[in-house]
Symmetry: C2
Subunit: 192 residues, 2 copies
Amino acid sequence: MTLSDLLLQARSYRRFQQGPLQEEALSELLQLTRLCPSSANRQPLKYLLAWRPDQNDRIFPHLRWAASLTDWAGPSEGERPTGYVVILGDTRISRQFDLDCGIAAHAIQLGAAEQGLGACMIGSADRAALSSALQLPEHLEIQLVVALGKPGETVVLEEGAPDECPYWRDEQGVHHVPKRSLVEVRVELSKS
Amino acid sequence: MTLSDLLLQARSYRRFQQGPLQEEALSELLQLTRLCPSSANRQPLKYLLAWRPDQNDRIFPHLRWAASLTDWAGPSEGERPTGYVVILGDTRISRQFDLDCGIAAHAIQLGAAEQGLGACMIGSADRAALSSALQLPEHLEIQLVVALGKPGETVVLEEGAPDECPYWRDEQGVHHVPKRSLVEVRVELSKS
């Protein structure tokens, strides 16, 4: 599969088919993050894996879903993620995590797509409650939660600007995601 | 190529073979960024491409290289990058760029590897001077510069912690990069 095909397949999924994830599948995703670049190679990120129902139940209640789908409170029972990678920043190593976190989360999402899984990076959560539910030590700060599972919805890209509406779900439940055109994102270098 | 192989190949290169890059090759890398996830799908990043010598010369003098190689001031003539993607944050759209920037820069680095090119994400630059050299409007803030070209050095991964020494170059000029072990980066979930 080309990188372009893999990127296309790695959409953000918010509804999932049920069925167990294997710990090994998640562990393989972590191996991918170890191959990624890191700012000044400090590697300040740590990862907590969840795949058993009792583990997943400690995470799900604290996540917030798709702010722009105002009439949808998040996945209901029977369509919830079946696993998670919680990305943590180790403040003993660094205080700057976002660039590394984007890189690592994307490697996880691409690795999931390669395995036939879907992922969604979730930045909006009750961090204090989640941290408490996971009994995290103080030096590990929650950066991002990557929800995982077998995709249970169809997501399609559209060409267009997201400024009016960043994404929408149609009557058939298909999730549409507008992406800016190449012309819109490219800045021409002025003549010197 | 599997994702794991592509990630392994996509090392950070700081010395390059000389020879022209095509605009089309860089434009293909931009197409990849359009397929990436973006926080709340706002897509606030813009991209400036450089591939001609006169363009590259406006960028190179303002970059800072490999702080941990204290006896190396950066690539000398004959080993400099032959192209760049300058990643810009459009402050008219958002003020938060780092997560998106990590994702996009990594897609560029992976796409470069797929093309047989090498890349290095450079976060350390004289931003004011570079912004002025590129005559950027005020609403476009430099986030990261991705240097590109045909790899002109060997980079190998080592298992180990980077805390004492984040990377080093040996007598043969091979660049070594320690990566933390899986055991070190994985946090076990405590029993509830």
